[in-house]
Symmetry: C2
Subunit: 315 residues, 2 copies
């Protein structure tokens, strides 16, 4: 491995954003970001500009996921380039504003790192979400965080699927990273989830500070779960669901689902088994917000990525 992977020089990271409230009812990020806006001492790091932002303040005020449309799907090229117009959905206007402040997406002016803080009703524990398997910086950061919080587990979800990837708020940054912690109901703030999220952000900022300070991070391997397919609930011809996640699968995020294993339980008590050809690792199982997205869970496959070592250079 080390023969193929060497240490690459990357520009130091100076501009970091921490987004909370991209979904207004995911309370850990909303609360942490509001706290840091009032008093940023905890997230200050030498030489770093760190900007906490409530990305969807109207949704936060209403304690709802979104007002007009899902902000975390709104950062598409079409939306970001559309002529400004007061009839636009609120979140499209807001995406344009955020893109002005923290992007523009794909440009050299974009923020170096954007963390986006989310909660899930699924039993996923702490999860870091990556959008690229080639991003050495993010893979090194993830590796650092995993080691820092061990033996507590921190899973890594890689969503590089051409059809299932979506246009996230964090995607306007050069190194986008999602942090998803659960289980927590929408509209609820649980102390254990709050403290888990806070600890991960702390370790992430420590990593960036060490990197900027000249520390060399050696090539490393990172176990990830790669998104492969989504699975909808069984539905009738009117689109109403006709079955629930099976009790054997409920809360079993990251555990293997083998061909023949129970997957759904219909309202009349019969079992629907998983009929795929190979073992998958479901996650986002029974996430509240995904009923409207026709998704009971997402299937992943396990994979080990290798990251180049990294070292900062300053311009």
């Amino acid at each position: 491995m080390t023969s193929l992977h060497s240490v690459v020089n990357l520009r130091d990271a100076r501009k970091v954003a921490i987004f909370g409230g991209t979904h207004g009812n995911e309370m850990s990020g909303v609360t942490l970001v509001n706290m840091w806006i009032n008093n940023g001492a905890e997230i200050q790091r030498s030489g770093l500009m760190i900007k906490p932002l409530i990305t969807n303040p109207r949704a936060v005020e209403k304690c709802t996921r979104y007002v007009d449309t899902d902000l975390n799907r709104a950062f598409t090229p079409d939306n970001l380039s559309a002529p400004r117009n007061e009839d636009m959905p609120y979140e499209v206007r807001r995406a344009q504003e955020i893109n002005q402040m923290f992007g523009p997406k794909g440009s050299p002016d974009a923020y170096d790192i954007i963390f986006d803080l989310h909660n899930t009703t699924s039993n996923m524990g702490s999860t870091l979400i990556l959008e690229s398997s080639k991003d050495d910086f993010n893979l090194q950061m993830v590796n650092f965080i995993k080691q820092a919080i061990a033996p507590t587990s921190c899973s890594v979800l890689l969503n590089e699927h051409p059809l299932l990837q979506y246009s996230t708020s964090r995607s306007i940054g050069k190194h986008p990273i999602g942090l998803e912690v659960g289980p927590q109901p929408q509209g609820v703030l649980r102390s254990n989830i709050f403290e888990s999220m806070r600890a991960i952000v702390k370790h992430a900022l420590d990593f960036i500070e060490l990197f900027n300070g000249g520390m060399e991070f050696q090539p490393c391997m990172v176990d990830v779960y790669r998104v492969s397919e989504k699975m909808d609930y069984p539905r009738d011809k009117n689109g109403n669901i006709t079955a629930m996640v099976h009790p054997n699968l409920q809360d079993g995020d990251w555990k293997p689902l083998n061909p023949g294993d129970p997957m759904f339980q219909t309202f009349d008590g019969s079992t629907i088994n998983y009929e795929g050809g190979s073992t998958v690792y479901p996650t986002f199982i029974n996430e509240a917000a995904y009923y409207e997205k026709q998704q009971a869970f997402v299937m992943t496959k396990r994979e080990t990525l290798t990251a180049n070592g990294i070292k900062a250079y300053k311009i």
Copy 2:
């Protein structure tokens, strides 16, 4: 006890309603009631008219608690007697419609029994909610249900508090009974919670059928938790919360909270203890919907009620 409590004759119960979707994002009741509207075989009982109803269809459609105002607080005398007006909040109009169909509240025409199906994000398990300690019929039904589902626990919450009682949808029936099952996030349908609720409704209907069929139920004692006080989150001068439910209290519904026990954890890590003078039994701990009602949990006291025996007479 039996010397003081005898068997009273009550009129048989013929009209029964099952309400779901009083809060549109509490999915067990929504799903069960929709299922029974499509196929009522499971809830049919000899000699009984049983009517399932989605009480707040607009909130169900949006998967939100309510549209304009909380329907389960809307059945006040003022609301129910107000002149109809298209500018009224949707839920007030809907309360009037429901009162016409299943009440009028306090009249001889009102439905005999109204079950209202709810979910909570709190770790309350299965809970039956009563509004009167004097209702022999409901106490006998609760006793029957508790025995039928034992050893699974079913708690009884008695809300007879003059200031904390509220004007529920079910209050238009002669024997109102709330069924609250959790923990379940808003917008999520969990199979275990669904099946627990379904089983309790089955036993409740079995009880009514036995009662109507002439079975005599002997005087009995029922352990209840009586609502005594509500507790808000610590807040700053702007109304924002400054602390979370303490991890020792989180998920500890129905367990004793003793003077000096930890109650809240502030964001800077300090503990706020319970300073009351006597042991209480908190419930609805960290319920999502109660943040807006300034309630972190409700305190209860344990009490044992004695119910008269009951036997039906027919007119």
